[in-house]
Symmetry: C2
Amino acid sequence: MIDMRISIEPIVESQSLKVRAYAALKAAITGMNIYDDNAQLKLEERDLSARFGISRTPLREALAQLDQEGLVKVVARRGIFIVRKTKAEILDMITVWAALESMSAKLACTVASDQAIAGLHDLVDQFDQCEVALKMGEYSDANIAFHQAIIALGGNALIQQITDGLFLHVRAIRNRTIFEKDRVKRSIEDHREIIKALEARDANLAGRLVCEHTIKLKNHVEKYVDID
Amino acid sequence: MIDMRISIEPIVESQSLKVRAYAALKAAITGMNIYDDNAQLKLEERDLSARFGISRTPLREALAQLDQEGLVKVVARRGIFIVRKTKAEILDMITVWAALESMSAKLACTVASDQAIAGLHDLVDQFDQCEVALKMGEYSDANIAFHQAIIALGGNALIQQITDGLFLHVRAIRNRTIFEKDRVKRSIEDHREIIKALEARDANLAGRLVCEHTIKLKNHVEKYVDID
DNA sequence: CATTGGTATATGGTATGCCAAATCTGGTTG
DNA sequence: CAACCAGATTTGGCATACCATATACCAATG
């Protein structure tokens, strides 16, 4: 018997103002180069609520969430400030990234399908093209996309959630990162080796390679990125 | 010349009501056995604000923060619910724990002082006494204290922050965890070996031992803990 | 002119009230 | 008796007004 019910989409449950304000603010903050010297880092509740056309209450809740995530800092009777992470904090984040992606790679060796692993090749190829383009931004995004893919293969939702937050911050310093063609080339080689290890289902090797690869980035940032 | 200035302590800047409400709620929630079958899992804003003697606004902000941390879930026009993590989520948490503590152990091999590492022996000894007491609660707390100590040795503040949040949830299921004397004994042996590896500054070994040790816990929880 | 103390303003924190949707309750109806 | 409907109640979302304090500005003072 044919299903006679008309197809009903649930009415777009318009998200709460808080959620929408949160998304808008997060997009705005992560979209700007906060590490530029002339970046505007101060915000005001009343100004923002007026510009969003909502009251301060849901806006404050969105700001509180961003505060907890470390993107802004709300100071009583002073203002709301977009947070620039210190170099030490960025290095700590990359360390966490290394640990979690390494674990994901190990997990992927048992849980990921051959097909899913094979999909990584495309990402490396895109990455390779960015190398030609020699643009830091695209390079960085393609690089992060590859690592997010490995993390997704591990199937641990919490790791994905944590690292998504980290990537936001690491991404923000890319304009402060020296672009070296050699480093990109070596990076691509690393990626190809990682894929090989995953395909061989060699958990120890994959975990080690991923960790070492990200620690290389950490060392690079430590040496060549100048923030604070 | 004597310093004639009177000694002035900065006035204790009383924290905001939001912060205090957050702390009180968090303590209350983590202090109760939310996995007990007859646990009260529903809260109400107005009831809580009345009992705390504050208005709903700061209370709501505290609840929103707990919501983001995953301790409660605020549902519009339904209520506020204390969140019971699913078994899969707990397992994911333990996996993250394993990855981050393993990384901390590796870091500790280079950054921790001999003295700091030596301090771990005391924790194992306390742990050993808890074995005699055969109480799940004390065992669990002493166990977590040991692992937090290793994480502290790594010196990565972000890892500490993330794992502190995880331990809250893992701690909450301890009453659902079967207490096995054999497991405790093997656990203590593991701990002593981990200390040895740290003292030998063998980063690879320490990292591996810590990871394997926590994965054992994960497997134990997977097999013997019944929640959901 | 430099210093100092008061005052106005800016700005995040808090209290309160209303709104809309979900739920509950009691009675009506077939 | 079951199904159902309407109004009352519950409850989180939101807007608004007021509060307290950090800062800026200005006048009084030497």
